[in-house]
Symmetry: C2
């Protein structure tokens, strides 16, 4: 048993814990659509703002404002406990900041600070109806077709995960200037991921064989509001192989078996006020694997038109005339309440150890390896940078062979933190200090003013308990010109893969279709 | 400019370099099919071997032998310079080792060492014709259908990569015992990746819309031998999104544009004597990204039927009665001769630096970040474990905005080494010491007895030169019961993504199909 406390972050955790003790316990509800709608209109009737617009010779009807969360930068006073938003107005010859109170719906601060050139509209419109030649490649219809009857049978049930969802999405931007410093969004806690869901467009947002589901949220008055087509479910086939084997060892006979990979995808797309779209796929493989896939632009008007003109720190890439895309990170923290064959599980970091071979009977004199299963209580410290497997194990059940029942986490490429641990946004976003945390399940844990970084220090038993695995998918986004005006999807994610959960390959006996003839399809193009 | 020599591996490189100086310069051609075929038959007429078979009461007709490369374990003597193979015979009540000389085709050593129970055949057969109920899910036809005319136009050419291929595949197994220690395969150099290519099965190995290509290799007599259907090319559509954007900031109007992702896949499957299949996909995205995707079992008879019986090191997982799957690693080293817009390129590790904000004008008092482009000569040292982007840059060309023309490497999850640097297999496989190496292009570099680890120490200029990026995709394979008898595909890979190569998103103006009606398909099931 190893308690990994000798960690460089120990002092930071202490810092966060102490700071939290001194915070007032303020907990704000997230900003509703209705509130944001009213706040966004406030500037349009605010006299100093209207004066600023007319000073620039612009029309008020072209002004669009949006509400942004204000972040937290060490404020301890009463003012902070009001539900404040920043209202930022765009398509202007300049950048205007306003502060508003969501409860009283008043403007509390007003600042008209700088003037920069308006980014050219030319080339920025991504709508196909606004495009002019030369066009890119023209797309023919490419579809996933399933001409036979639906063929999925779910005949057996075993517990794997009680509940899995995105707990928080932390998106800190790296620009310390007045117009950007506060953009350290907590998309789930401040704006609501469900509220940010967008209706999915059949045949482009999801494969043509998809079915759609609606969603509901509670409106300002508490009544249910329906969101249509926010979830789609489809069977994905990408020409991939689920398993295959060629046996070449038997003379004069080649054995070859191949099974195509067809997975069930459940998709949601969110579009945040930070102005990026995020595709979230929960992909269920026939092999028992659960894969989560995730996919992201923001612009800023500047005075530059060529990189040679830039002599100051700009915290971004010049991606078009007068347009800098800001450096930022995305951290998606997943709450994964795994119940592998039952509630009580343990988290095991199974190290792959290099051991010296002492016996004389091996010609590989120096080194060989074996796995040593140091199942130990895990306190939320994990760096990956050593050979190890991360496993959620049911210590109370074994396969017939005697192996413990387990699921394995296959993580994504880990990203190093850019924010210092004592930076205010990082104190709030301290759950990103590590990619992996394990805590006992506790539904009443979150008081709104602490995080996984605090909970992880409570030193509770997590061995053979109902545990929650918290995993963060992280991206640095250093924008490039290809990201303008809308970037091609950047993919990330992780996989929960059965590892001695089944007695053998669970898809070994999947049967191939009776015939694999190409269906005759009539072209319906009118 | 930073020359990263202060590295913990420095001494190992010195060791490898010194060792190489003392090696005799032996260079063997790879083992041809014909040679392996003859070697595999040798035991069947070898008297002591035949006696061993009859001693066990088995039939010689059920014995199948395979040729394995012998590895290198420090031998410096003349005998090593002969082209030796190990011939291992299977389906026996025991494990028998023979040594053979490929040039004289004689048996040089014979060992009949141990007796273990024969693994049960029951449950091990993966052929669908041998399966009995209960079956898994039955598969209906799921196909990628393109009812319109082919629609790819290639209208513009710009250099990105002169040549890309797998340079070596190193697969060391972790078992030091007599029957396994030498299994430290170099699949390309010893067996030939092209020789290991298998014919692809239409509609299961590749999507139904695939076209196939043949390959050729030089036989024992130097004549061309045709391999049919070893490469397939198809357009992959998986219900994924190439780009999308929702504009929610404009009141009473929602703008939503979505383009489905359709990529061109070029696929090859190899099946090695080490008894794993490997799928290699080169995926070309319309956005200019080049993605490489890669996908692996081996069995060993032991005396155990339950893990509780295991008291010694077994270097593997008990995955079925009397069957242990050995721990092993896979390292696929890719030679990527990138010529981004022309031959002369530089490799840049662009660090994301956290800097203290000193100005009083930012409310984010403590910290903010900016990218500092420390373009420096890169000597093959790379750990990833710091915030950085790995870029191949054309320092002689810029976009209109003034950004340097670049491609970015998006690496896969890095795996830590299990073999010690002074272990003989690792000396040969020292190109896996780092995931990334950069060298100047030199077609006559390889003398067969040194590696990237030696070349990287020549300290040659690689700035603004014709450089080669070497990237290793690596996996630990700790087998589990699901991997028996054939494992579900385990995926890895990397992406070369344009990053200021284009002036803006190159797929912005891709046109959607004129209609997205579901084609009417006639079910041809007979």
């Amino acid at each position: 048993m190893v308690a990994n406390n000798e960690n460089s972050l120990g002092t930071t955790h202490e810092f966060a814990k102490k700071t939290a003790q001194h915070w007032p316990r303020f907990q704000h509800p997230l900003m509703t659509f209705e509130e944001q709608g009213v706040a966004n209109e406030l500037p349009l009737t605010y006299v100093p703002f209207k004066a600023s617009i007319s000073k620039r010779g612009l029309s008020l009807s072209e002004v669009v404002c949006q509400s942004y969360s204000v972040g937290w930068f060490g404020e301890m006073n009463v003012k902070k406990q009001r539900r404040l938003v920043k209202v930022l107005c765009n398509y202007l010859d300049g950048t205007v900041n306003l502060g508003g109170d969501l409860d009283t719906m008043n403007i509390t601060d007003y600042e008209d600070r700088i003037t920069v050139p308006i980014p050219k509209a030319k080339g920025t419109d991504y709508r196909s109806s606004h495009h002019k030649a030369p066009f890119g490649s023209k797309a023919g219809r490419t579809m996933i077709v399933q001409p036979d009857e639906p063929w999925f049978d779910i005949t057996k049930f075993r517990d794997v995960m009680y509940k899995g969802y995105i707990s928080e999405v932390f998106v800190p931007y790296m620009d310390p200037t007045q117009e950007w410093y506060y953009k350290t969004f907590f998309d789930a806690g401040e704006f609501g991921l469900g509220l940010c869901a967008v209706p999915l467009q059949p045949k482009t947002d999801c494969a043509a064989n998809a079915v759609f589901m609606d969603g509901y949220y509670a409106g300002q008055d508490g009544k249910l509001i329906k969101m249509s087509y926010v979830i789609c479910v489809f069977e994905r086939y990408a020409g991939d192989i689920m398993w295959r084997h060629t046996e070449i060892g038997i003379p004069r006979e080649t054995i070859r078996e191949v099974r195509p990979e067809i997975n069930l995808v459940v998709r949601m797309v969110i579009s945040t006020v930070g102005n990026y779209d995020c595709i979230i796929d929960w992909e269920f493989k026939q092999s028992g694997s659960i894969k989560v896939g995730v996919g992201l632009l923001e612009m800023k008007g500047v005075k530059y038109t060529h990189t040679d003109q830039i002599k100051e720190d700009v915290y971004g890439t010049l991606i078009a005339d007068n347009t800098i895309a800001e450096y930022h990170d995305h951290f998606l923290n997943f709450h994964l309440d795994l119940d592998v064959d039952q509630e009580n599980n343990s988290f095991v970091k199974s190290k792959l150890q290099t051991t010296k071979v002492m016996e004389d009977n091996s010609p590989r004199k120096k080194v060989a390896k074996h796995e040593s299963s140091d199942g130990y209580r895990f306190k939320g410290m994990e760096t990956f940078w050593e050979p190890a497997e991360l496993l959620v194990v049911n210590p109370n059940k074994r396969t017939k062979m005697g192996n413990h029942i387990r699921y394995r986490l296959i993580p994504s490429f880990p990203v190093a933190l850019l924010l210092s641990h004592d930076d205010y946004p990082q104190i709030r976003g301290a759950f990103t200090n590590y990619q992996v945390w394990v805590t006992p399940y506790n539904k009443s844990e979150n008081h709104g003013d602490d995080t996984l970084a605090i909970w992880g220090h409570r030193n509770r038993e997590i061995e053979n308990k109902d545990i929650v695995l918290w995993y963060t998918v992280d991206f640095h986004h250093v924008p490039c010109q290809e990201d303008f005006p809308v970037m091609p999807t950047l993919n990330g994610g992780f996989e929960l893969r059965p590892s001695n959960f089944f007695e053998n390959n669970p898809v070994l006996k999947t049967r191939s279709p009776k015939n694999m003839e190409w269906p005759t399809c009539t072209n319906k193009t009118s």
